[in-house]
Symmetry: C2
Subunit: 147 residues, 2 copies
Amino acid sequence: MNSKNHFKLPDFLPYLLNQAAETSSLAFQKVYKDRYGMLRTEWRVLFHLGLYGEMTAVEIGRQARMHKTKISRAVHKLAERRFITRSKDMNDRRIEHLALTDRGKDAYRDLSKVAESYNAELEALLSDDEVNHLRGALEKLAKQARG
Amino acid sequence: MNSKNHFKLPDFLPYLLNQAAETSSLAFQKVYKDRYGMLRTEWRVLFHLGLYGEMTAVEIGRQARMHKTKISRAVHKLAERRFITRSKDMNDRRIEHLALTDRGKDAYRDLSKVAESYNAELEALLSDDEVNHLRGALEKLAKQARG
DNA sequence: TTGTAATAGTTACTTTTGTAACCAACAAGA
DNA sequence: TCTTGTTGGTTACAAAAGTAACTATTACAA
């Protein structure tokens, strides 16, 4: 049964990717959780709004590839805590435009600074070559199942 | 607020890693879910036992970096469905040795074949250089928070 | 011994997530 | 107009994961 000429778990890219993703997410998760009581989905929504400005829930979902129920819940909490505002579109009343409040902008700026320096720490673990290849590879892998 | 000289979300390694990990896990998840009704934790436990032979829950946890409650639940389900056996250690009665049943071995062989060919598909998306750098980088990133 | 701490594993309770069904608004053709 | 389909978004229910407290066993030192 043992590993004689066998495919090993550490060879399996999805496994490796998961390990790296989980580990590298933890440290940052602690920051947005402790400082702002946010969940991963919530900080992602926040980040999208901070980066791209006003968006609708569907647009965020497409960008971030998150299911609309996740976003719906994140939006609800973020609005409740006054990090974002929601305003109905006048032409299409199904649509809501989401935007950061001042409080939301502060949180965004704070968190993106942390993210940036944490990112630098992570990159410091790798050579320049590795970082570049890694980026390219991750993008291809992430796109792969899009359609 | 917009992206003038700002850190962007697609630059953030944890984000990219998560996207790639999630996307690349989905296709394979469908296989172990549909064919064997397994959860991610369960197939990981199965895979460890198939690869390394008899192990205890704690050993699997250390290897796979999963919390013991997750493993406890996975072990319970796997045993219930006759994929694995659990036997008490005679010297230390706290410990249980886990091992695959024949049924478990069959499932393991089947799934590892699928994993291997899926992995090949993923690697085909990348250049050889990218694959090698990717592996190295992922290992470093995954280890980074170990201590 | 006895007392204290560590280890293996489970359980109970809470928080998150996934899934599907749902409502309301719009679109577009018969 | 009706009606069928699509889209944006929410909700209800079930499944899964996180956290902490718990039992049982062993280790080890006073």
